[in-house]
């Protein structure tokens, strides 16, 4: 069966295929534990044997193989074992999703036929699809007044709309439903249908499982996951909220499912970090490796000097602020994962063990597949979704090695990766200079070079590192300064040889910039785009200045919607009064619960008194506040006009 969905039931799992076929398997897997000295815990072991039965077994981790026990009991029992052993017992295979464990144990996976290669570049993804929508604004409205089904609007009373929806679902029998803000509307639709006794079979069984809403810390900021009602037997994707869907489409959701053994209902709702974790778990189960429940193993002890050396990030070559002609940006493709695979890095090998490291061997096929899809998508856009999903998983795989709760993470591996990446970039710089190139800027896995024999530099660097690169050519590029006058990392803009502008790090690229300011700055870039070389930029200074004056005077008639600032909320309480706090309060008063990690929009009504309104309530905006935003956007770009433009090989200087 090509498995579309899986739901845990008492004592087993029900698997669903396309079209509604289903099959139940009985499955009650044990968890495992080891004890350093079982003799010290005889009483506990006897008690467990009596109540649940204990099966002695070999527990294989990525480090070693040990004698342990298998026991079929609840999580609560596992907690008691931990406590009663004074936290010396090590528990394995406890927090795995049963369907994943079952499938991986048999070498099967979801969204694939038995025996299929999970890493094939193409796979059968024919699914009966349907689209549902609710026209009312989500998060503020608790009423459904207008819906859409496959683009066709349906109105009427709620019972009429629900009945029409229910009939359509029964007629079309979809395998996959796309529904913007599904995770917000579903509880309302499902409970209304129940009350009205309408048989709404979004879930084939009428049962839904819950993914709870939560806020969590990820990559240095708070992120919020909405709660969700997950149907059984059909895949329901919240097309607005699903990161995987938005970035990688249905193909990405399905590929994530094939790789992790988790149904697409889940992979559509998980972040790349959770996906890479699930993938590593799947691979471990496949190889008979026990998945640890906790992180017990700390790093090695070392002198403070060694820690200082190791606790660093990627290599950076600060640019000298200026505008430069004929520059090539060379990017290493998937540098960090390539290092993991190329250097056989894994928790058990990083201190110098031989043999194939678990992490390296698990990431190798992902990297291999990505390199294929990267090439394929240039010819055929249908590979873009798969490529995007793989890109995200690879990007996350590095950070995950340093994540404190990562099952197969290791700070030593994390440090080895960054150490190697610094060496690679330094060696690449040396190679570039040997080829007569000038290195203008470098950051972690990218170098900007000008002059010399660039093709030779690229060839030799790829050969020396074994990592593929990609190049982009600029007619001219401007590296902007930081507040202290030295070159900013990753803040630049320039015109590529194909005519397009590439812009990074400035207001127009920051998520919280209101549309009005963004289009102002983008207007500047449209003007600058006409310049064919650095020397021609100065000619545009006057036009840019005019654009700024127009933008400022246009503020008073700007549409309120264009002045909305969108920010991800980092916390819901603030010690000092501030605009964001004021916006959160306004949301609260409108009945919208704001959690850390959620994105909210607001319009600043009074910058001095720190008053902000939610977009649907805002009627006026503080011109002085937004003028400052315009000024900042303008000043970000202005430095390029005050630089002396020297001949291209020298670049700019202040």
């Amino acid at each position: 069966m090509w498995i579309l969905d899986a739901a845990a039931e008492r004592g087993g799992i029900r698997f669903w295929g396309r079209g509604g076929e289903s099959k139940r398997v009985a499955y009650t897997p044990p968890f495992l534990f080891t004890l350093e000295d079982p003799h010290l815990h005889r009483d506990m072991l006897d008690g467990l044997e009596d109540r649940f039965g204990l099966a002695p077994c070999r527990v294989r981790t990525i480090f070693s193989e040990e004698e342990g026990y298998a026991i079929t009991a609840s999580r609560k029992v596992a907690g008691l074992i931990e406590e009663q052993s004074g936290y010396s017992a090590k528990i394995y295979n406890l927090d795995l999703r049963p369907e994943q464990r079952f499938l991986a144990g048999k070498g099967l996976t979801t969204c694939a036929f038995p025996g299929e290669d999970r890493f094939a570049t193409s796979f059968d993804r024919s699914l009966a699809m349907m689209e549902i929508g609710v026209a009312d604004p989500p998060y503020r409205s608790r009423v459904v007044s207008r819906m859409a089904v496959d683009g066709k609007t349906i109105t009427g009373s709620l019972p009429e709309m629900l009945q029409e929806l229910a009939t359509t679902i029964d007629d079309r029998n979809p395998d996959l439903i796309l529904f913007p803000h599904a995770d917000y509307w579903m509880p309302l639709l499902v409970s209304s249908a129940e009350e009205l006794e309408i048989l709404l079979r979004i879930s084939r069984t009428g049962r839904y499982s819950r993914l709870s809403a939560r806020s969590y810390w990820s990559y240095g900021r708070m992120v919020h996951r909405e709660g969700a009602l997950i149907p059984e037997g059909r895949c329901l994707i919240d097309s607005s909220r699903s990161f995987t869907y938005r970035e990688s489409g249905i193909a990405g959701v399905l590929l994530a499912s094939r790789m992790t053994g988790l149904a697409p209902n889940l992979t559509a709702r998980l972040t790349p970090g959770t996906l890479i974790s699930a993938y590593e778990n799947y691979e471990a189960i496949l190889r008979g490796i026990a998945v640890p429940f906790r992180k017990w193993d700390p790093e090695e002890t070392r002198p403070i000097a060694r820690l200082r050396e190791a606790d660093k990030g990627g290599m950076i070559f600060q640019p000298h602020p200026g505008v430069y002609d004929d520059v090539v940006q060379v990017d290493f493709t998937s540098m960090y994962p390539s290092i993991i695979v190329g250097q056989n890095l894994s928790p058990e090998t990083v201190a110098g063990g031989g043999g194939g490291g678990f992490l390296a061997s698990v990431l190798a096929p992902v990297l291999g597949l990505r390199l294929k899809t990267k090439t394929l998508k240039k010819e055929d856009g249908r590979y873009a979704g798969m490529d995007s999903l793989l890109k995200w998983m690879l990007v996350t795989s590095f950070g995950y090695t340093g994540y404190r709760n990562a099952k197969f993470g290791s700070i030593a591996v994390h440090e080895a990766i960054t150490r190697q990446s610094r060496e690679i970039l330094i060696a690449a710089k040396e190679c570039a200079e040997e080829c007569g190139c000038r290195v203008l800027h470098g950051i972690v896995d990218s170098l900007w070079v000008a002059g010399g024999d660039i093709p030779r530099f690229v060839r030799e660097t790829e050969a020396a590192t074994g990592i593929a690169t990609e190049s982009e050519e600029y007619r001219w590029i401007a590296f902007l300064p930081m507040a202290d006058g030295t070159g900013a990392y990753n803040r630049y803009f320039g015109r590529l040889t194909d005519g397009a502008m590439k812009i990074r790090g400035v207001a127009a690229r920051r998520g919280d910039t209101p549309p009005y300011v963004r289009s102002f700055q983008e207007g500047i870039f449209s003007l600058l785009e006409q310049a064919e070389c650095a020397a021609e930029l100065d000619d545009r200074a006057g036009d840019v200045q005019e654009l700024f004056s127009e933008a400022v005077s246009g503020l008073s008639s700007a549409a309120i919607a264009d002045l909305v600032i969108t920010r991800r909320v980092s916390r819901t309480e603030y010690r000092h009064r501030c605009i964001e706090g004021s916006a959160i309060r306004a949301y609260g008063m409108a009945g919208v619960a704001v959690e850390a990690g959620m994105e909210i929009g607001y319009v600043v009504r009074d910058g001095k008194r720190l008053i902000a309104d939610p977009p649907w309530e805002a009627t006026t905006a503080d011109p002085a506040y937004y003028r400052v935003l315009l000024e900042r956007a303008y000043e970000e770009v202005m430095p390029i006009f005050s630089w002396e433009i020297s001949p291209s090989s020298k670049g700019g200087s202040s």
């Binding site: 820690l307 200082r308 606790d311 660093k312 290599m315 600060q318 610094r422 202290d484 030295t486």
Partner: protein, 75 residues
């Protein structure tokens, strides 16, 4: 940027700020040199952390490099 140890760049920035502040205590004719010194300390912070763990060493190295460059231009 590390997980536990503040980055060398942060350290150099702190040192540069201190040197700027120290300039205020100098005689007027000497003050511009303090500002220049702070800028020289910052000039190579981006790359400094590759070999250095001590921000003071990185700052001093950066200053010396800049001094040698100036020396070469005006012999």
């Amino acid at each position: 940027m590390g997980r536990s140890i503040g980055s060398v760049r942060q350290g150099v920035n702190e040192i540069a700020r201190r040197w700027e502040r120290a300039g205020r205590a100098l005689r007027k004719e000497d003050q511009t040199y303090a500002a220049r010194l702070a800028a020289m300390a910052r000039a190579h912070t981006g790359e400094g952390f590759y070999a250095f763990d001590d921000p003071l060493e990185a700052a001093v190295f950066s200053v010396f490099i800049e001094l040698l460059k100036e020396h070469d231009v005006d012999p």
